[in-house]
C-alpha cells in the first residue's frame, strides 16, 4: 500500500546516489519541489531521464546532481536552450544518451510491458550513427524492424494534481509520457497538489493515471510544479523561465540562485513561504479545481 510521507522523507527513502530516475512531467506537472529536495539532500551521480529535460533538470545539472542525462529534447520551452546542460555537454561534464521522442516513449512502452525491447517505425539519422540502432527480423514479412531497448527507471517520480489517501493518482491536461514513465518504473513515487480522502476521487476515473497499489509513496506538495504549470490549477511562471535563461549562463550566478532558492530554504514549505502566498495568487487560474473535468 502507498505510504504517505513528507517530501523530505520520500526523497531520502527512495532516491539513492547513482540510481536512474525519471522525474516526469511534460511542460506542466514538472516535479520541481521534488527535484529541489534532491538537490538539498546532496544526492549525486544520478542518471536523469525524461523526453524533455527542461529548467528543473538544468538546475539539477547546475547543482551537480547528475552524472548522465537520457533524453530526446533538452530545451527551455518557448525561451531557448538549457545553459547548464549546454555547458555540461560542451565541456564533457556529463554523459548523454539521446533519442528521438518516438524512440524515447517506445523505450518506456517496453518498460511498462515488461519486455526488453520495442519495435518502432524509424529511419536512420546521425543519432543512429552515434548510437547504432538494433533491429530484429520480422518472422512474417522478413523485413528488418528497428527496435529500442526498454527503459525501466529505478524510480519514477511524478507530480499530479490530486492523490487520494489510498495512493490513487489523478492528473489532467497534457499527458506527455507521464503514465508510461510511471508504469515502466521499478518503484513509483509521487508528489501531489492535494491529497483527498480515499475513494473521494473515484467518480473522476478518466483522470486516474495509476492505481494506488502501484505507488510506493506519496507526499503532499502544493505548487509542487512551480514554476511550471499544473493544468486547471495554476499557470506557468514564465518570468522565472526567462530569468533562469540569463542566470544559468554564468556558473557563479547559477550557484547564487541555487543557494538562495533551493539550498537556502529548509524544504518545500520554506520555499513557498519565501515566495509568499501573494506570489502564487497571480498564477492561479480562474475556476481553479473546478476545471479538472474540462481539461
Amino acid at each position: 500500500m502507498t505510504q504517505r510521507m513528507a517530501l523530505s522523507e520520500l526523497i531520502s527513502s527512495y532516491i539513492r546516489a547513482e540510481s536512474t530516475v525519471y522525474l516526469a512531467g511534460f511542460s506542466h506537472l514538472i516535479p520541481f519541489a521534488a527535484g529541489h529536495e534532491i538537490i538539498r539532500h546532496g544526492i549525486k551521480h544520478l542518471t536523469l531521464c525524461r523526453s524533455t529535460p527542461d529548467l528543473l533538470y538544468d538546475q539539477m545539472i547546475a547543482a551537480g546532481v547528475a552524472a548522465k542525462v537520457v533524453f530526446s529534447y533538452a530545451g527551455n520551452p518557448g525561451v531557448g536552450l538549457l545553459p547548464a546542460f549546454r555547458r555540461a555537454v560542451e565541456t564533457g561534464g556529463i554523459v548523454i544518451e539521446e533519442y528521438t521522442h518516438a524512440e524515447m516513449v517506445a523505450r518506456l512502452e517496453a518498460g511498462a510491458a515488461g519486455l526488453p525491447f520495442w519495435p518502432v517505425r524509424a529511419e536512420d539519422n546521425d543519432l543512429t550513427v552515434q548510437r547504432p540502432r538494433a533491429s530484429v527480423v520480422c518472422p512474417y514479412s522478413g523485413t528488418q524492424i528497428p527496435v529500442v531497448p526498454a527503459l525501466n527507471p529505478d524510480v519514477t517520480l511524478i507530480h499530479v494534481q490530486r492523490a487520494d489517501e489510498a495512493g490513487n493518482l489523478y492528473m489532467w491536461g497534457l499527458p506527455g509520457e507521464i503514465k508510461e514513465a510511471a508504469l515502466a518504473a521499478r518503484t513509483l513515487v509521487a508528489t501531489a497538489e492535494e491529497i483527498v480522502p480515499a475513494d473521494s476521487a473515484r467518480t473522476d476515473r478518466e483522470h486516474l493515471i495509476v492505481p494506488g497499489f502501484r505507488v510506493a509513496a506519496v507526499a503532499h506538495a502544493p505548487y509542487g510544479a512551480h514554476p511550471s504549470y499544473a493544468a486547471g490549477l495554476y499557470e506557468r511562471d514564465t518570468v522565472l523561465y526567462q530569468e533562469w535563461n540569463r542566470i544559468a549562463r554564468d556558473t557563479a550566478q547559477c550557484n547564487k540562485w541555487l543557494d538562495e532558492w533551493v539550498r537556502g530554504v529548509p524544504d518545500h514549505a520554506g520555499y513557498l513561504a519565501k515566495r509568499g502566498v501573494r506570489y502564487f495568487e497571480r498564477l492561479a487560474l480562474k475556476g481553479g479545481h473546478d476545471r479538472a473535468n474540462e481539461s
Binding site: 518557448g78 521522442h101 517505425r121 543519432l127
Partner: protein, 248 residues
Amino acid sequence: MPTSRDWMIIAAARLLQDGERVLVGVGVPNIAANLAKRLHAPGLVLVYESGVIDARPEKLPLSIGDGTLVEDALAVLPMYELFSHYLVRGWIDVGFLGAAQIDASGNLNSTVLGPYESPRVRLAGSGGAAEIATYAKRTIIVMEHDRNRFPAKVDFITSPGHPPGARRPDGRGPWRVVTSLGLFGFDEHGRMGVLALLPGHSYEEVLDMTGWRIPCLTDEFHYSPPIQPEEEAALAALRSTLTIGDQK
C-alpha cells in the same frame, strides 16, 4: 513596416491549406501555423507532438506544451499514441518545422553545431523532428536565412531530407523552405533551389548567404502578392495575445 521575419512568417502561413493536418514545430512554424488558422485556413488542424490534435489556442502558444493548446483541443493524447497511431501511420499532411541548419538535400540539424562528441553549440535535439520530417506527407521548413544555417552539409543530420541524387519516391520529405530571403523548393534530384524571393532581396544575396551554389528553379523571382493588410493585422493581433515579456 513588416520586417523580413514578418515576411517569413506570412509566406510560411500562406503555404498551409484549409483542412490540412499540420504537425507544428516550435518557434516560427508555431507562429505561422496559428496565423494561417486565423486567416485563410480556419479549418487547419493544428497537431502538436505534445499529443494535441486540433488545437484552437486562444493565445499564441509559447511552446508546444502551452496550456492554451489544451483548453479547446479535440484530443489530447499520450505522446506515444500521437507518434505511433497518427504520425508514422501517415495521418499528418504537413510537417512544419524549424531547424538550426539545413543543407542542399533538405537534411535538418537540430542537435549540435560542431562535432557531436565535442560540440561547439549543443542544441535541444530531435524531439519529434526526425519522425515528423520522415513520416508527414510533406515537410515545410521555416528558418532565418544565414550562411551558417545554410551549409552545403549540415553538421549533424537530425531529420533526414532527400536521399542522394533523388527525391523521396513517395512524395514525403522536404517540399518547401521558407526563409527570411525567399521561398525554396526541391528539384527532381532532391536538391534545393530558389522558387521566389521576398521583396527587397536578390538572388545574389541568397547565393551569398547559402553555403553551396544554390540554383534557381524558376525564371520568375517575384514573390506575390505583397503582404495584405489583413495579414499584417492578424499577425499583430496574434502577437498581442502574448503578455508583456513573452513577445517573440
